[in-house]
């Protein structure tokens, strides 16, 4: 079984990389891009029976820094 974790900077935390991507898209002529937020996707290959609670604990302790990041867990 697998799980997919999405980690994003929290709303309100400035994302300079996302801003740079937004500027670049504008410079390339793509109009109407009002904001870009860049995050990361982490895929976990898990032993059968691993619970979502266990993955959440992994997020809290390592995969996300909850001072600046939020995360979502998707069990696949």
């Amino acid at each position: 079984m697998k799980a997919r974790v999405h980690v994003m900077l929290k709303t309100g935390v400035l994302d300079p990389q996302g801003e740079a991507v937004r500027h670049a898209l504008g410079a390339m002529g793509f109009e109407g891009v009002n904001g870009v937020r860049q995050g990361k996707v982490i895929e976990l290959d898990l032993a059968d029976g691993t619970t979502e609670a266990a993955v959440t604990e992994m997020c809290e302790k390592l995969l996300a820094n909850t001072v600046i990041e939020s995360y979502t867990v998707e069990m696949l």
Binding site: L14, Q17, N65, V67
Partner: protein, 222 residues
Amino acid sequence: MRAAVVVFPGSNCDRDLAMAFRAAGADVTMVWHKDTSLPDGIDIVGIPGGFSYGDYLRCGAIAAQSPICQSVAAHAGRGGYVFGVCNGFQVLTETGLLPGALLRNAGLKYICKTVGLKVETSASAFTEGYNAGDVIDIPIAHHDGNYYADDVVLDALVDQDRVAFRYTDNPNGSARDIAGILSENRRVLGMMPHPERAADEGHGGTDGAALFRAVTGALTTA
């Protein structure tokens, strides 16, 4: 006074940090990241700059989970002194020994240059060799030094006189120009600039030497 300097795979300022402590009179032991305990009688632990574990996941995140960091946290919990520089500061925020986090520089670029730092407090073993208000020249070399914490935390740091250093000309977008902060008991200091790179005439500046002399002196007489 006995200091330990932790070496992670990817640390590259460990010897500089050890040299600066030795020049100030400390007896320094290097400690490997897989060690599970600190040597006996250590007064202060130095967490050096560099790119521990290749900055994978987040700067300092993997190092914070290494066996030795559990011992460093226990040392701090017993009231021991800890000094984190650059990547070491990132490790200390990831372990939770210091609040906040270090984000990518606002200008997105790696910055390597000497900057002005204003000493905000002389009320710590690290900064008592300076006067509050002194401006010192110390090099920075980082890509992720943009200090972030929410306003509640920032207000508390200011109210409790825990901002040790501020940039005179903010290079990286840090909240409230913060370059270094102290723990609540003032025994843990984390800072992005590198005082160990301004601790010898050969470095081109010696403004950082007073920090090592102060903390080494304070812990020797303690």
